[in-house]
Symmetry: D4
């Protein structure tokens, strides 16, 4: 695995017991465990196990479905770089939150900007100055996925488009958003549908380069 | 065929001779012939045949690839309704022009608004007041097709989205634009890729209803 | 959001509690809340909450899976325009009903015409005169989706085709109906599979234009 | 090969010389050669070779793109059964003609019914009594392919739906027609897009059974 | 609906109560009710209701998932024609049985030939003489769907290929079988995946023609 | 590259000059050059260049579209193993021939068995004893691709299915054959559509293992 | 069925009772029963039935979801050949284990190599010498499926690529892995997604040929 | 348009005359014109026009199909950042070159690394130290597209995967590479098939951020 990218435990398709074991192994090996796509049950089990343990810090983000456990001596990296994580609507919360968790664990500062979908263009335009100040942007959008395209025409910051599995019928489940981002007339880079983890890693690697450059 | 919709000769897949024969038949039957997807050769042949004929009026729109021939006594309908035909970029010209030709032959007034793609948002925003004055809008867009979605969030006029067969790779040939319009978070109605004829007919039928209402 | 289009709460993928909160917010903001894709449980919870409240009117359409709550002082728009909402068979009821609910909330008069699928052509032909009197038509059809195509050859009213997610095997889940409507030889405009909300908004915007023209 | 099904030479993808050789072999083996998808060049070459030969009869159907050569002593089967070959529009001519040629060579009587697409429903309804008299129907239709579905609701004759590769955009090249026929609410059997040969063979085999039953 | 085709109640997606009501209506209207895709629960409910009623005859085919109820005076048609219903393996039982039920209700004699998939070619070849005696064949096959193609090369009887939704991975759920039947080098007609009802109706209509011819 | 697999020059998409240069380089490096998908023009150019050169041996297989050039001292491997290369029909010749060329250059003995498609089952069954004697089989088939499935039920030799890009309409261009081979009820391994080179390499590697075992 | 390939009972879609009956039949016929895709419930039922029976040996592989029952006198074949079964990660365990079970029952020696996915290239490179010693390799990989491609560039052993149904979003459920293996620049043969049974049979047939050659 | 992204003229689908006009306009507006996907004819025409003009500098990259014209006073940006542009094989040259041209025009230093596809793993591993020194990597790969996945496991530099439209059959034209990159187990960001322009813009925007950080 790449030195700069933390190990992550994908909870989907695993039992709570399997996840608990993988968390133990990860803590033993690196002093940290990161779980994504955690169900409420798994999250509760991990909280019960680690919340009262003075040697451990556990951080749960329910909407992101992520759980992070640190041993007390764990030394998280700290990068001099800020990544904006932007959503078009409330359905984008899980993958966007997943990206934010990864970024924080890689050491980047995360700036969340929520619910600025193109259906309410004024709200979006209001945020443009703030977005221009970020080092990198991850922009999540479902349905037709227009938001990253529109923002990329307004800011010179590199944007990673994150398509979300919303929408029914033809092009549903994120396929329309993905193909729209790939076709975007404003030249985006893209990750797979709901791939918040991947978006986070990519933005985190850029943040590491910027941190290096700023030293 | 519907009484309110003119017969149209689709030139694609036909020889110039076949088209000339169909034009003759159409003129004989209705006093008018409308040809779409006409090649330069077919257009030239029709111009040679009808341009110098005092009994005939021929109107050619090269970018739209349409040719219209009227007998002198032909009485084109005249509707008290205006349809805005909007394009995101120059590649949208053919199907948008096709829609405009059909609309004019159905009697609507056509207002063209060109090249206001979302990559240059200011140019688009400048046109919003003018768009709000139209009775109906046809909005063409290729690649990711974001323009109709963004406009529908800004104007209360009914919008027919017209996806255009631009773009290479995944979602190319208009498929991304079509699925984006079908998934649009701003509730559009849609026609098939490059189906300027269909968009024109639909907007024309709405214009007829408005004309009836205004009488 | 467009001024002329009401806010709507899509219940699918939300808990009853989340929906109740969104209904409260919507009532507080606009005096009205519209819920689509409501399950029986959510509907029951909303009825329990609002049915006995003298300050509120609640309207439930079970087959449409819609719930509308009005504060007593809410002043619903009233448009001088009639939209026909037509179904081919009983499976079309939910999206067609969703369209009807939206239309009523936008102020249009809704005329329902049920079960006139092309398998019983006489029953369909009987309804043609009635359909010709409508200002706009929304025509729902599943399986092969032939009904909107056939009707569009018989009436000069603008038709919005609404494909329905019926049918198994190849082209099932509404994909055959959608592609058939997009390819229709009678020039339809179309919305996505089961997108009754979108069809309703589009027809409602046309009704608003007609209402303006009739004033 | 099945005894009751004639050998056929598919010209597509072969040179005129290859086809001429295959025709010779077929004549030598069975006293007959049937060529489908013949280009104008191939057809001309075959006419030059066989038209003036008193030992041979050559039958060319240009729209069907078929060429049939018989040795004078060839004894074509003669079945007591009639197959209706129906088209929705002029673009259906080639595959429908291909089916008709095969049927005639299998010995069936062929009744052609042309251009009765659902866009002109009256013209279609006029033909229903004639269609009811046929033993089997092959019904060709492109674009949305509604015609076989509508006819199957009106006649009790077995119908083989023949989807045609017309239409551009989503569901184009016959895919919408094929999936519509497979989904038809009036229970059709179907062959592949443009597969006039296959439709002809199937109808011909039914005609053979009927001929046997009538003896 | 076509006079020669019985009304059928598709149980899938309906509650037992809804089905019971539709059965009542069908019995009242025609003296017969046919239910397909019936679950064990629905079947049990119908048996409880009709099995002990001396005015009614109920016929259940569990593997076919069909239930047929006749009023005592119901006069089922009786056709002088035999249809072979052939399966490649045990997974084909449901749709093949559905076809058999429809055929019997249309009055045809049904000859079942089971489990002669091409993996055991000898068993298949043994059945060829018996298959040659049928008037029409419905041949069901899942996975790669080779059986109808191989049989059509051996018998001159018209064959309707019935693809079955077996198989996982690429081309699974019957898509490989469907496309293989459409591409078959032995010229088959085809119905949709699992569409036993449609196959039965088509074979039944051919049986009616043969019955007419034999009178 | 793997030591046991020869370098091959894919002519498709290259100019004759580019191919000639690559042939020179390959000869210089290994004493051999193998060209696949060679056009008639490229083949003629290579023949003109090498046929009269006493230092060189050139072997052209027109139907396979392969050209092989050996320097006189080139020592082709010689394996004690035989691979059967089987085709269903004449359209399979190019990829099957490509496989045969690769196999010969890897040192295997190649046994060609031609035109035993399942439409003429007797011809196929006649070849079964011969096929049982081969060490490995490559079986090419287009359209529905039934041949490898049927053969794999009859012989215990490992079979590599080679789908061929024949057929028009749905599942055309080899997609039906590929998905049928992947779904085969007789457990085949498969290569991509027209991938004769890949099939040849795989069979060649098995032949090498057998040669090692026999030593 | 092929003499060299054991009968296998696919548990998916069958009840425990049905499977128990098929196991009885298989034991009675061949002295062995092999069950794939067995659920925990089915496995428990079979263990209860056979584990304490002195006449029987039962072998359960939980991760492979396979159960094998042998009568005491059953004489499993014994082949002088070794097949390497390689996985990229833990999600590949079930289909890879299924292949291993089939191979053992066909008599091959199985060498398991686990978790050498390309994300940790060093671990993979460490195993190359061991892989070079195998007669054949089955290499399982999900997501992008890069492992078989990379290994095939390093070893001259024939490789059967086994794509695994992991991954969400576009190309998920194994489709990306399958198409990557079919496109591989290192010439692999392939089986369908999760088709461990098929991969095992193919490798087993090669092992039989090698065993014959070594005798 | 974004201030930091140069205007580019996409030559595909335009006549030489149209391109020449757009070049003039671009030069007049910005002092620079960049043309991508230029044919040999267009390139020759532009060279004839500008090469001998002392006021102009023209730079042609034939394999990249790009042409850049600068007015003598044009002041290209100069960024303190290096982007590695990596190819797996010679077919990747055009889109990779397109990316390189854009990057140079945006002011980045470009480091080309050619032909290190995974089929020759040693050659690839040799380049890893050099790749680790880049600020960002664009990695192009066709067929199965394994190269970016493997590299991303070895270097901590952000990687933009660029899938290339090579390969025939299933997953051909770059679709397998695209879906493999989206599914990659090593977390890549991705652009559309052949979208060298987009990859270049994204890498260029990151280079701008790094340049800012280094100042
Ligand atoms: N540009 C167009 N796109 C789609 N359909 C068209 C177009 N132009 C004409 N049509 C339709 O095609 C019909 C003519 O088709 P055809 O019989 O092939 O000439 C007309 O009556 C229209 O319904
Ligand atoms: N039945 C429906 N189908 C599609 N879109 C809907 C539907 N109901 C509501 N919407 C749209 O979805 C938005 C609400 O989405 P959400 O934020 O998920 O509640 C509304 O503002 C509408 O634009
Ligand atoms: N895991 C498996 N995947 C695919 N095919 C299998 C599997 N296990 C058994 N089979 C095949 O399926 C046949 C049994 O299918 P069935 O008649 O449904 O039990 C066996 O003879 C094998 O050819
Ligand atoms: N090779 C390319 N691939 C994709 N997009 C391009 C390419 N070259 C230019 N573009 C984009 O296409 C726009 C020009 O499109 P057009 O108006 O058709 O010339 C440029 O501003 C770029 O955004
Ligand atoms: Mg959005
Ligand atoms: Mg746009
Ligand atoms: Mg219908
Ligand atoms: Mg039609
Ligand atoms: Mg089978
Ligand atoms: Mg075949
Ligand atoms: Mg992997
Ligand atoms: Mg590669």
């Amino acid at each position: 695995k790449r030195a700069g990218v933390p190990e992550v435990i994908l909870a989907a398709g695993k039992t709570t017991e399997e996840i608990q074991m993988l968390v133990e192994t990860s803590l033993a090996g690196t002093g940290r465990a990161i779980v994504t796509r955690a169900t409420a049950t798994t999250t509760a089990a991990l909280e019960e196990q680690y919340a009262s343990d003075p040697e451990m810090t556990i951080t749960v983000d329910e909407r992101a479905q992520t759980v992070v456990v640190h041993e007390s001596e764990f030394d998280r990296p700290d990068l001099d770089a800020t990544v904006g994580v932007v959503t078009a609507g409330t359905s984008d919360a899980m993958p966007a939150g997943e990206a934010a968790t990864i970024l924080r664990e890689m050491g980047a500062t995360v700036e969340r900007v929520e619910d600025i979908g193109v259906a309410s263009l004024d709200r979006m335009l209001d945020q443009v100055p703030r977005l221009r100040e970020q080092d990198v942007l991850i922009v999540a959008a479902g349905r037709e996925g227009a938001l990253p395209t529109v923002l990329a025409g307004l800011v010179d910051v590199p944007i990673i488009g994150l398509p979300i599995s919303t929408g029914y019928g033809h092009g549903g489940e994120g396929e329309a958003a993905l193909s729209g981002l790939l076709q975007s007339c404003t030249a985006l880079s893209v990750v797979n549908i709901d791939a918040g983890f991947t978006a986070g890693v990519q933005a985190g690697l850029i943040a590491r380069q910027l941190d290096g450059a700023r030293e």
